[in-house]
Symmetry: C2
Subunit: 384 residues, 2 copies
């Protein structure tokens, strides 16, 4: 269970607060760093806390395959296993099973797929995916969905949406059974599919809303479609979704994507950009992004972002971090990742403040200036 | 310049205190974590401080090749560049030039060698190596030495010792010139060579002592010779070396090696073991070492070392760290390295306390129990 307080809504700009069953308070709009395998890559949990992060994303698909849910359960649950006492949302693995990882066969009952780790075959049913998330003891769980690739024919997208609906229903039933016996149980979100077809998005949303989930995720986006199409889908969904439930746009995005989606009513985000790009030497700042490992920074004694007060910017220069990247030091991806997670956290705080203080437009135009829109397709969100 | 206060000496057991020109106090016996390229691999400088480390080892050879001493100088010197306000000792690169890295040609003037990074040719002279360390602004510098491989014929070892002596003399002269103009200048150590030939070790020591260095390093050991031979060389040197100067055994070693060398009068150590082994999943504890990535720890909810109070042992279980190693997470080598550096730091503190409190024998026998002697050859110290 979660509580969601919508503190303020002006047009489609929303300011809210999620409170988990264990009492963790998460101001929204919020960005969740990705820690698929139980760690936000290169960072210790203390680092993530220092960045004022209250909610991280793990992935039940990854954790099921390795180390296995039984091991995590035997360690007292996922929070204890990874040493994280704030909130955890798990993705159900629909995206991973369908879009990226090897062989799989979809039946009405569920999906048979082959592990990318050892080649072994496994089955996921919507009931099982819910049960696994209950066993992990997460704060917010996702329904098991049928995520379809982009582009896909209308017929295929419709079929995937219908399966997603039936699976959501089965998963929800299982969730209600499991929740009866417990005082603290996860919240459960339904995942809206429908590709980039407006009427299929609407249909999927209406079906899931009828089932009454604790929140609604927008799935099947950020899979390579143009950013504009992604934003259109979000815009279409805004008036349909219940005001007093959180809305989560899965796998998004760049600072510009995020602020654009916030302006269309989204409350929650996750994306591999700050972690993956950080590991590759790209860092995000209040003046745009830069590739800190480039030669131009070899003698640059400024911090990554002179406007940032994170531990990395307080202590290290671009010249040093560039050197660490060139020298292959593992400290390099760590420092860049730390800064990026801190930047995303501060960026979300700035968004919330701007909504509260009625200054969203000026923040929006600042971000548009330093993160100009590109014709790039969206970036898939998987962090393996 | 450094000051060395010998606080206590009983037989060959020594307790001391180095004070650097900038006022950093380093209790001895001390272990220096290796950060050849300007970072203790996987760790941030804050981590190293948390482990109560006052003195780290960098390498002028690595830093000369990348990023280049001119860049570091332009950033305000090595301390500022790497964001470390405690003490730095630099190895002169003799070991790297001679033992491990590709092509090189020794002349009386110096060495021409080929970079392992870009294949370019460079020359190191003993004067230049001193000048580079002055430009880096390190606290303790090493003479440029001719480090010979093991095994080597007596004639070769003698020749290398003679060259080392002449280079030490030239370097010392340069050092004195450079120091005249400065209020804060590095201390300079001479490096004793002589392979595993007692009379050549004695000869090398006597020659260097006559030149009057600030301290004496024992080089050319831990290059593959049996541990017993290494300890014999240390034992021979003890009565020759001036009491009131620090003695540094380069590239050593395991906890057992260290405590055995302490019992033979050594004050300073460095070794890649805690960092390199940490990255490979081997961790050091008060009950011996263990390979935390092994299957037997998959469900072990104890910390790496139940007797350790480091941040890693306070927060994370063996099961989690094992999972991180298996999942290829960069957090894994970091956590294991942090613990190992902390362990080495606490181990050295325990050695100092045991000397002070006249309980060295009981610590020695405890370490011998949990780190039994092996017929292993010593482990070369290079961390590229």
């Amino acid at each position: 269970m979660i509580q969601f307080n919508l503190l303020q809504q002006k047009g489609s700009l929303r300011l809210g607060e999620i409170t988990t069953a264990r009492g963790i308070v998460i101001p929204t709009p919020v960005f969740m760093p990705v820690g698929s395998q139980g760690a936000v890559k290169t960072l210790a949990m203390e680092d993530v806390k220092e960045c004022d992060v209250n909610l991280i994303l793990n992935n039940v698909f990854h954790l099921f395959l390795r180390p296995g849910v039984d091991i995590i359960e035997s360690q007292g649950g996922l929070h204890k296993f990874i040493s994280w006492d704030r909130a955890i949302l798990t993705d159900s693995g629909g995206y991973q099973v369908f879009s990226l990882l090897g062989k799989r066969k979809v039946k009405e009952e569920g999906v048979v797929f082959q592990s990318h780790i050892d080649g072994g075959y496994h089955t996921f049913t919507p009931e099982m995916v819910i049960e696994l998330q209950h066993r992990l003891g997460v704060d917010i769980a996702m329904s098991f969905d049928y995520c379809i690739e982009y582009p896909a024919a209308e017929k295929e997208v419709e079929k995937a949406g219908q399966i997603t609906y039936r699976w959501a229903k089965r998963g929800l039933e299982k969730h209600r059974q499991l929740s009866e016996q417990k005082s603290e149980c996860p919240a459960l979100f339904g995942i809206i599919q429908g590709g980039t077809y407006p009427h299929l998005r609407e249909q999927s949303a209406e079906q899931l809303i009828e089932l009454d989930f604790d929140g609604y995720s927008v799935g099947g986006l950020s899979v390579g479609e143009p950013t504009e199409e992604m934003l259109n889908m979000v815009e279409i969904l805004h008036p349909l979704l219940p005001e007093h439930k959180p809305r989560y746009l899965m796998g998004v995005g760049t600072p510009l994507d995020i602020i654009q989606a916030v302006s269309r009513g989204i409350d929650m985000f996750d994306c591999v950009i700050p972690t993956r790009h950080g590991r590759n030497g790209t860092v995000y700042t209040w003046d745009g992004k830069l590739v800190v490992k480039n030669a131009e920074y070899a003698r640059d004694n400024r911090p990554i972002d002179p406007n940032c007060d994170c531990e990395v910017c307080k202590n290290y220069s671009r010249a040093y971090i560039r050197h660490l990247f060139k020298a292959g030091e593992l400290l390099a991806p760590r420092l860049a990742t730390y800064h990026n997670i801190y930047f995303y956290s501060r960026f979300m705080r700035a968004i919330r403040e701007s909504i509260r203080e009625d200054k969203f437009d000026s923040l929006y135009s600042r971000i548009k200036d330093v993160y100009p829109a590109k014709k790039d397709a969206t970036i898939p969100r998987f962090e393996g």
